[in-house]
């Protein structure tokens, strides 16, 4: 297998993607190539397998809710500037983390995480979906958070080893997956808002059973309240940092309190729709010229660059069946499209449930009903089918790579 070093691969991918990304306003991070010199290596990975008394018994598949159960092992890599940077990666039995009370993550939320999945395919093999994109995003976030960067390819290999060790946590039935949560935290035992000289990268895995992988089975109801803002220009809403999520919990509670399920995040005077819950949002409509159009907000700093989002855009451009646009969507436009019966579908897109159709939006005291699930041949279902076919190995595709250890 030809091994490209990271920088040429990054540039090649940018060249590939830029043809499709019309309004890519984010400046590519320039300093990644310098940081790559210091990285941990898969070749240094040590493995300490759990003994039988350290194992967790496996529950019934029906109990496998998202994030409730964890596997028997974890990946742990320390970073200490004073010791030369990244230390040797290790896979160890699942354990609690011990931190100094002054650890930066506890005070200044110097933390970032990723979300990706490994799928048990129809041939019994485990596949992961586009992990390179998570690695790139993770490094971009690390730069923004004052945390150390690393070589993504090495982390992917370590993750593959971890997944192969704990792969029996994925049921052999169809539609089961393993949710992978790489996390990077700053553990400097000193108060003071500064870049971290010590950090820990660890990864934990959660089995997800068939019943819960399709969380978007029924369409969701949203609360769109312009007084709440998730992200703003010049902020870090486009980075996957834990600090972005804590403030949303209260708003989510508000939504639930009103009998609604998720929050539709609006920004600015024009009430631009940005994201829904923790997912990107897509709108499928009939535009002014009478043609079908798929629209999603652009990556202008307010939007998390989702991998499902990128995959959907790429597939759409490949299919070439309708117009694809990345542009802002004010609520006014949404309302007007709806009133003219030109709004066909509205859905969220994310790793957890692939796509999540939207049934209604409660906005300015009014409940807007969206005909997403009423469409005869909904596009969201086509995206879900295509992506799951790739993820579960129904079709062979370079986006889903088998973990073969």
């Amino acid at each position: 297998m030809v091994s490209l070093t990271r920088l040429p691969r990054v540039l090649l991918r940018r060249k590939f993607l830029c043809r499709h990304v019309a309004t890519h306003k984010v400046k590519p991070a320039l300093s990644i190539s310098n940081e790559v010199q210091n990285t941990f290596k898969f070749a240094d990975l040590s493995v300490q397998l759990a003994s039988p008394d350290q194992l967790q018994p496996k529950p019934e598949v029906a109990d496998l809710q998202f994030g409730k159960y964890f596997t028997d092992h974890m990946l742990k890599i320390l970073y200490h500037e004073s010791l030369g940077g990244w230390q040797r990666p290790e896979i160890i039995p699942f354990e609690n983390i011990v931190l100094h009370p002054a650890a930066k993550v506890l005070h200044y939320a110097t933390e970032l995480f990723e979300g990706m999945k490994a799928y048990r395919g129809v041939d019994g093999k485990i596949r992961i979906f586009r992990p390179e994109m998570n690695m790139e995003r993770m490094n971009q976030t690390a730069l923004r958070a004052g945390l150390p960067t690393f070589d993504g390819a090495n982390l992917i290999k370590c993750l593959c080893r971890l997944i192969s060790i704990d792969q029996e946590w994925v049921p052999h039935s169809e539609s089961s997956s393993l949710y992978i949560r790489p996390t990077l935290i700053g553990i400097d035992p000193t108060l003071g808002v500064a870049a971290c000289a010590s950090a820990m990268l660890y990864t934990i895995l959660c089995p997800v059973g068939a019943y819960f992988s399709g969380a978007g089975e029924s369409a969701v109801s949203l609360l769109a309240d312009p007084q709440f803002t998730r992200a703003w220009p010049g902020g870090c809403g486009d980075k996957k940092m834990g600090s972005n999520y804590a403030p949303t919990i209260h708003v989510q509670r508000e939504a639930l309190g009103q009998g609604l399920q998720q929050v539709l995040w609006l920004y600015g005077e024009d009430h631009l729709i940005t994201e829904v819950g923790t997912m990107n949002i897509f709108m499928f409509c009939i535009n002014e010229s009478g043609e079908k159009e798929l629209v999603t907000p652009p990556l202008d700093g307010l939007i998390l660059p989702g991998i499902t989002r990128a995959s959907i855009l790429q597939l759409s451009r490949e299919w070439n069946e309708f117009r694809v646009s990345e542009r802002s969507i004010p609520m006014a436009e949404l309302v007007s499209l709806l009133s003219e019966n030109r709004l066909l579908e509205l859905f969220g897109a994310g790793t957890a449930c692939v796509v999540s159709p939207i049934a209604s939006i409660s906005y300015k005291g009014e409940k807007l009903l969206i005909p997403t699930v009423e469409q005869k041949y909904p596009i969201y279902a086509k995206f879900r089918r295509t992506l799951t076919d790739i993820q579960y190995g129904h079709v062979s595709h370079p986006w889903a790579v088998t973990v073969d250890v």
Binding site: M1, S3, F16, R19, H20, F42, A43, S46, V47, Q48, L49, A50, S51, P52, D53, L55, Q56, P57, K58, P59, E60, V61, A62, D72, H73, V122, D123, G124, R127, I128, I156, K157, C160, R161, S164, I165, D166, Q167, E168, W169, P171, H172, S173, E174, G209, Q314, R317, E318, G393, H394, V395, S396, H397, P398, A400, V401, T402, V403, D404, V405
Partner: protein, 419 residues
């Protein structure tokens, strides 16, 4: 242009994915992340077969046998060998070609709630309970090697407890010098998979074992595999520190450090390259198709019906009071029952003249007709009893005697009065 490139990469290969069907390995070569120790090398070489130890969370003999069967039928063991460790609540397991009536004391079993199961592999009858550890070594057929597995067990016992054991000519594990067996072994070779399974007696209830497997003359003629009884011994009798939990762990670690193709010990560092221990929850949700396998294993047809053809011949002394006249003594009733596929095929009843005399037993025909076609079980006796009670003959005591004789023959009961 880039779009065309992506389209070309998008090859379609549809793989049958119905539930309950074994996984089909796709013929399309997909991109693979390989993490073999050679840097940047592509395929995983044969020398890199990794090992896992699976520990079943279930104590049910049928579930565990079904799990063993599921793995044998569905798992891909190329480059991935597995040791399955399991324990059962009290049960007796007979070999594939055995006759449960011959091997087992059915009345003792039902009295103590002990299950009878038939496994898929050949060999003799074993008694399981929680003091017994079961091991199944799964490999592709070409790497099947019983001796290696047994040597591995020997090494584990020495390493942990200094216990010296030997492999007997029949490939059982025996305590050195004493020749008491601490394990039984059987195997199944198929394509592409094979397994070797064996038991280890740690702290088995020997009294129960003796009673459950106690064989006595039951008048059975068959060419089914007959168990060879051997004196057995518990590991905890040799060394009181041996427990099933510790043994499970010890053998597991030894398995992980042993080379997959030879019995060579590769040392502690080798363990790092393996997949280690995993609990297994054997339900149909985790392993689609498991319930179907289990249902078959619990069925009467499998457990009893699969016995090779046999016949039972018993003779019984007729009690004096049932015979009409004083001068008739030592009269005997003899029954021969032919059984095929667990069903009564034919019955021959020889009623002595003293019993058949005036006002005597007249239900000979009923015995034959009511038993024929029935399962060779207590059910048949109940049906017979009902049929005889409908006879006009008032001699119920004679009917009861005949029914008792039939019951004794079918349930292979000990009968002091018989020879």
């Amino acid at each position: 242009m880039a779009q065309n490139l992506v389209t070309k990469l998008y090859r379609i290969s549809v793989i049958g994915a119905a539930r309950n069907k074994p996984y089909v390995v796709p013929s399309v070569k997909a991109v693979t992340y390989s993490t073999s120790t050679q840097q940047d090398s592509g395929a995983v070489k044969n020398s890199d077969a990794v090992k896992s130890v699976f520990i079943s969370q279930s104590n049910d003999i049928f579930t565990n046998l079904a799990l063993e069967d599921w793995l044998y039928k569905n798992f891909n063991f190329i480059n991935h060998h597995i040791l399955l460790l399991w324990r059962n609540s009290p049960a007796v397991v007979i070999g594939r070609h055995q006759n449960p009536w011959l091997e087992v004391n059915t009345s003792v079993l039902s009295e103590h709630g002990i299950e009878i199961a038939r496994r898929n592999s050949g060999g003799g009858t074993v008694y399981h309970d929680n003091g017994n550890l079961n091991l199944t070594f799964f490999t592709p057929r070409e790497h099947y090697n019983r001796k290696n597995n047994l040597q591995l067990i020997n090494r584990a016992l020495i390493r942990e407890w200094g216990l010296k054991t030997e492999i007997s000519p029949r490939e059982d594990i025996v305590i050195s010098g004493g020749y008491k067996q601490i394990s039984g072994t059987a195997a199944k070779l198929g394509r592409p998979n094979a397994y070797h399974h064996c038991t280890l007696l740690v702290s088995v209830d020997k009294e129960k074992l003796k009673h459950a497997l106690h064989k006595h003359h039951k008048g059975i003629k068959t060419n089914a595999t007959q168990s060879i009884p051997s004196p057995v011994m518990n590991l905890c009798d040799v060394n009181s520190h041996v427990t099933v939990e510790k043994l499970l762990s010890t053998i597991g670690w030894e398995y992980l450090r042993t080379c997959p193709y030879t019995a060579e010990d590769r040392g502690k560092d080798f363990i790092m390259k393996q997949r280690g221990f995993q609990f297994i929850n054997p339900t149909d949700q985790w392993f689609p198709g498991l319930d179907k396998l289990r249902a078959e294993l619990t069925s009467w047809d499998w457990r009893f019906g699969k016995s090779p053809k046999f016949n039972v011949t018993r003779t019984f002394q007729v009690p004096q009071e049932l015979l009409g006249k004083e001068e008739l003594r030592n009269e005997e009733l003899s029954i021969t029952i032919d059984v095929n596929k667990g069903m009564v095929e034919d019955v021959m009843l020889m009623v002595p003249p003293g019993l058949k005399a005036a006002n005597g037993f007249s239900g000979q025909a009923q015995v034959v007709t009511s038993l024929k076609g029935q399962r060779f079980s207590e059910e048949a006796v109940t049906i017979l009893q009902k049929a005889l009670s409908e006879l006009e003959s008032p001699e119920q005591t004679r009917n009861e005697f005949v029914v008792d004789c039939v019951r004794t023959s079918i349930l292979a009961l000990e009968d002091e009065k018989s020879n």
